[in-house]
Structures are given as structure tokens and as C-alpha cells.
Amino acid sequence: MSERPDAPDRDTLLAMFEIQSRIKLCDERFRSLLTSGQIQLIYYSPRGQECISAGWGVHLRPDDYVVTIYRGLHDHLAKGVPLRELWAEFLGRATGTCKGKGGPMHITHPASGLMVTTGIVGSGIPIANGFGIASQLDGTDQVTVVNFGDGASNIGAFHEGLNMAAVWKLPVVFVCQNNLYGEHTPMAMSTGVEFISERAAAYGMPGVTVNGNDPVATWTVMGEAIARARAGEGPTLVEARTYRFYGHLMGDAMEYMDKDERKAAMEADPVVLYREWLLANGHASEGDLAEIEEVITAAIDDAVEFAMNSPFPDAAELYTDVYAEAQQ
């Protein structure tokens, strides 16, 4: 709980807190509405992984690109996808980011740089390279951050994507959010290495493992990787170690997870600890933080109401957006 010489300035610290809290509070609202049966959807909770997205979130510019996965709520929020459209999309409404046609697994919001959310494990990685190629050809210093899990590091797309990025020195940061499980399988049962970051060497790429529950350390590592990419020095593989508090998806019995391990992880809730640390070290007063939380809560209230009161998509929408023109 002591002060950190490596910590960023107060604004950044509070910006990270804001993102983390937004994720945490949004997640809590989703889970409570799901539990009470007020909404129904397939829900992959990102609870426990907030620090990671906040860690890259505060470094990115609006014109930087982010690619993520089905467990992507934290990444969506960290990149600034607006709450109303996000909630409406989760509930399949016409006012959602994707008019209700994509759903939670496919949130897309180019205006905030959230470019692709994919449901196919690992497949976002090669796509992220495409954004990197575009920035490289455009001669801009935009950066692409692509998020994926530990499990994704075992699929072919990971390998092909990292190799291509390394050979072409693409401005892409590969963020492996290692929550120690891929669905019901502990990482050690499926993966030949102990640290995913060790795999970077197979592509001549720098690889680093960071405690993804330590906001300051994560912020530092993400900052370095993003700066490298922005400077045209090529990609980095960042492995951020963390934990999924609520298993793979809502309703998961979690019988395959170690009870004590989970209990310990939840007791070391990184958002709660970070809040305490901010207070303990005088970066913010209880009032400051409570206000941030209140603003978020109000915004969530508003977003939920907006989404709930939004119409379902018009039946004709089934057939639009398949091709540029009307049906072929």
C-alpha cells in the first residue's frame, strides 16, 4: 500500500480509476440484471481483468485501433465505446452500436477506435496486423492494441499473426490477458510454456510478463510497448497475468476452478485495492473517487434505461448490410 515511484501523474491515475470503475460497475449491473432475470443474454464477465484495459486505455489516442474478443466489455469501455450504444447492443436493440445485429461478441464502434470484436479464439490477431499495415502504409503513428486470452496463444492464428507482425515491424501491441483458464481448462493443461511471453522469442519479438492486477506496473509496460510501436520499432507481446472472477460465462458452475484460488483472487480485487491505494497515498480523497463512481453509476442508469426502452431492430434489418447493395 506504499507510494510507487513508478506511478504516473494524478490525472492518469484517476483516469485509470475511472476506466476500472466503469468496467466494474457496468459488469455488476449486467450480472445483477441477469441474475434477477430482467435481461437475458450470453455474458462473459471481465471482472478481475479491469487493470489491463485501463493500463493500455490511458495511453491510447482516439485514432488508435483496438481489437478484442467476446470477453471484451472491459476493452470496449477502455477504448471509449459509449455506454448507451453499448448497452443497447448487448440487449439487441436497434439503437446499439451495431443496430442489434452483432451483439456482445461483436461490438464495433469505429468512432472510438473499437474496430473488431470477434468470437473466434485467436482470429483477431491477424486482423490487428491489417490495421497495423494500414497505419504503416499511411505513414501515421497510430497504434493497434489487440487483446486475447491465454488459451488463444495455442491456436495457429496467434503464431501466424505474431510472425507477420515481427517480420514487417508492424505497430501492433499483442496483449495476452492471461486469466489462467481457457473455458474449463487450466492453462498448464494445455500450454507448453509457463509464461506466454516466452513465445515472443519465436518471432524475434520482445515479450514481457506483467502482473495485470497491478495498475501501475501494467501502465508502465503498456506505455513502453505502445511507445515502441508508435516509434515504428515494431510489435511487442505483453502477457498480463490476471484472474476471471466469474468463470467462463454467466452460469458457469466453476467446478473446474480451485475454490481457494478463486477466493484469494477475489479478496485481492484489483479495483478495490487500487482504490485503497489511491486513498492511502493521497492521490484522491474519498469524495473524489465517490464522485467518479456516482457519475458512472448515473451514466449506467441512463444507459440501461435507454437500452431497455429502445426498439428491437426492424424486421427488414435481417437483410441489410449483407452486401454493400441490397440483397444479391
Binding site: 445485429k101 451483439g103 473466434i120 488459451g151 424486421a315 434489418e317
Partner: protein
């Protein structure tokens, strides 16, 4: 109803969920033959698969025979191919059918062609079990039915059962068949005993491939279907019976081999046919079957064969759109009326 089904009901076999019947078939196959083993993501205990279809099996047979893998579909199917050539009968699970796209090379270029390319020396007796289908709000990448890809790929057999009894009987046949079999399980049926449960004969119960099952007899129009949509056809038949329209429902059960004779027999009687499947209609298996019926029974048909399939779109997320994407009773009804 066919004899098989009647017989099995006559002795009042216990009603099981679809998933339970599959679990039982796997259990029996593993018990019967030490060369049968399973591999796939999350299939071992304690969870027994994300849909619990393989529940209990790793405890009973050990994790060397119920092998939980990394998320590496190409490695899964490749391993199945190699061990099948070496004399095993692997049953690989691809969690959802859309993911076949990440490992299709192993399925079509290898499992499907190796017997042929080797001049018959190296058969590839393996099963790929995969769950599939829309209706669960999973969106465009977790809801597809892609049997047409594999039917267009010579060398692979394809089964797609509609009832727990058929699931068990066909899966046991698939496992002991000497060719690669794609075995498609529509997820909506797994645990919904009320709508999709049914009696399942005990023991080593097998249903031969290439034998369609007339799930309902009728005289005015033939509904040809497979998988979950057979239930929609039956519902439509019940509905139209009130108006005096008599529908025969032919459940193909396996698509490769396909019991075309049974279809022709029925259409010969009714002079009218409607083909129903969940997969996107365009270039789906319905197209092949419709062509075959026209080719063989052109002069007998009272009306052109009609097709009812998924919309020509990715599967949308929003509930109302997803329903509209799927073929529904009212779509089948409309197609039938076109033939009358």
C-alpha cells in the same frame, strides 16, 4: 413412424435428453472397443464438456482416453486423422460448427481425401462431433450449419439426427464406420427434454447409415428434412392436418449417404415436395436434393419442389431477427401451399 421407432416405444424405453443419448453412445462405444478414444476442448472432468455431453467419461475411462486439448482445432483433427490411420477410432469434438472453418484443411484435404489418395490403403475411421445451430442468441459466429461444405467434399459422411434414439443409434454406427463421419448436433436439442427428449433403446443400438426414417406418413405432400427441423415439419404437419392436408415427413438422418430412394418413393406417392433445413438456403443441401428430385421425378411432379432454409444472411443477434433468420412453421406452411 418406422418400425424401429415404434418398436422402441412399444417397450417403453426411458425418455432421455438428446445430450444424454449421445453420452450413452460414447460410453458404450468406449466400453466395446479400447480403440475408441475422445479428444477435444474441455471434454474431461470435472466439467465434462461445456455442454456436459461427455460428463463422467474421463472418470470412467481415464484422461488418456478422454483427452482434453488446447484450443487448437487443426491439431485436434490432425491428431484424429493420424491415430485413425494407425488403427484407432477417435471421436473429436469441435465445440461449435462455425469453428470448423479454422480446421477445415484437416477435415477436407486430409480426413476426406486420404483413403482415396492412398488407393484405399489408409482408411480414416474417425468421427467429428460438433454442436451447431441458431436460436440461442450467440450471434453470427456461433450459430451456423455448414453441412453443405462437407457434402460437397467427397470422402466424408454426414449424419444429423433429430431424436435422442436416432442420435444414439447413428453415433454408434458412425464410430464403428470405417470412414470419417461428421456428426452434427443441434445445440437447442441437447437438454430440452420437453421439446426434444425421447425414448432411447438401451445397449449397443445402431441405426444404419443411408436409411431415412418416415417420421409421419401422409399423402398430399412430402416434407424432407433432418435434424431439429424435422420437429418443425412435424408441427407443420399437425397444423395442416386440421385442414385436411396430409403431410408425410421424411427424416433423412444421414446426408452422406443419402437415402434418395426413400425420398423418391414418398414423392412418387405425393407428387409434391418441400425440403426444410436450418442452413442458409442458397447452395445448401436442399438445392442438391431439389435438383435430384426434379431430375428423377420431373414428369410426376405436380409442382416444383420448394425449399425452406435459413435466410441468405449471417445469423443476426437480436432475438426477433434471429427468429426470422430461422425457418419457422409458417415458412414451411407457406412453401407447402405453393405446391398445392
Amino acid at each position: 413412424m418406422t418400425d424401429t421407432i415404434e418398436t422402441s416405444q412399444a417397450v417403453e424405453h426411458p425418455v432421455m435428453p438428446f445430450a444424454g443419448a449421445i453420452n450413452q453412445a460414447l460410453d458404450i462405444a468406449m466400453e466395446l472397443d479400447p480403440k475408441v478414444y475422445l479428444l477435444g476442448e474441455d471434454i474431461a472432468e470435472p466439467s465434462g464438456g461445456v455442454y456436459k455431453v461427455t460428463k463422467g467419461l474421463s472418470t470412467k475411462y481415464g484422461t488418456h482416453r478422454v483427452r482434453k486439448t488446447a484450443i487448437s482445432e487443426a491439431a485436434i483433427i490432425g491428431a484424429a486423422v493420424g491415430s485413425a490411420i494407425a488403427g484407432y477410432r477417435p471421436v473429436a469434438e469441435i465445440m461449435m460448427m462455425d469453428f470448423m472453418a479454422v480446421c477445415l484443411d484437416q477435415v477436407t484435404n486430409h480426413a476426406g481425401k486420404i483413403r482415396y489418395m492412398s488407393g484405399g490403403q489408409t482408411p480414416v475411421p474417425m468421427v467429428i462431433r460438433t454442436s451447431a445451430g441458431a436460436g440461442r442468441g450467440f450471434g453470427a459466429q456461433h450459430s451456423e450449419l455448414l453441412e453443405a461444405w462437407m457434402i460437397h467434399t467427397p470422402g466424408i459422411k454426414v449424419a444429423m439426427p433429430s431424436t435422442p434414439a436416432d442420435a444414439k443409434g447413428l453415433l454408434l454406427t458412425a464410430i464403428f464406420d470405417d470412414d470419417p463421419v461428421l456428426f452434427i448436433e443441434q445445440m437447442m436439442m441437447y437438454w430440452d427434454v420437453k421439446r426434444y427428449g425421447g425414448p432411447v433403446p438401451p445397449g449397443d443400438y445402431r441405426i444404419p447409415f443411408g436409411v431415412a426414417d418416415v417420421k409421419r406418413e401422409g399423402t398430399d405432400v412430402t416434407l424432407v428434412s433432418y435434424g431439429r427441423q424435422v420437429h418443425d415439419c412435424l408441427a407443420t404437419a399437425t397444423k395442416l392436418a386440421e385442414e385436411g392436408i396430409s403431410c408425410e415427413v421424411v427424416d433423412l438422418r444421414t446426408l452422406v449417404p443419402c437415402d434418395e430412394e426413400a425420398v423418391f418413393r414418398s414423392v412418387h406417392k405425393t407428387k409434391r415436395a418441400v425440403i426444410v433445413h436450418e442452413a442458409v438456403q442458397k447452395c445448401g443441401f436442399g438445392a442438391e436434393l431439389s435438383s435430384r428430385i426434379h431430375e428423377e421425378l420431373f414428369s410426376e411432379l405436380a409442382a416444383p419442389v420448394q425449399r425452406v432454409g435459413g435466410a441468405n444472411t449471417p445469423v443476426p443477434y437480436a432475438n426477433n431477427l434471429e427468429s426470422d433468420f430461422l425457418p419457422q412453421v409458417h415458412d414451411i406452411e407457406a412453401a407447402i401451399r405453393k405446391t398445392l
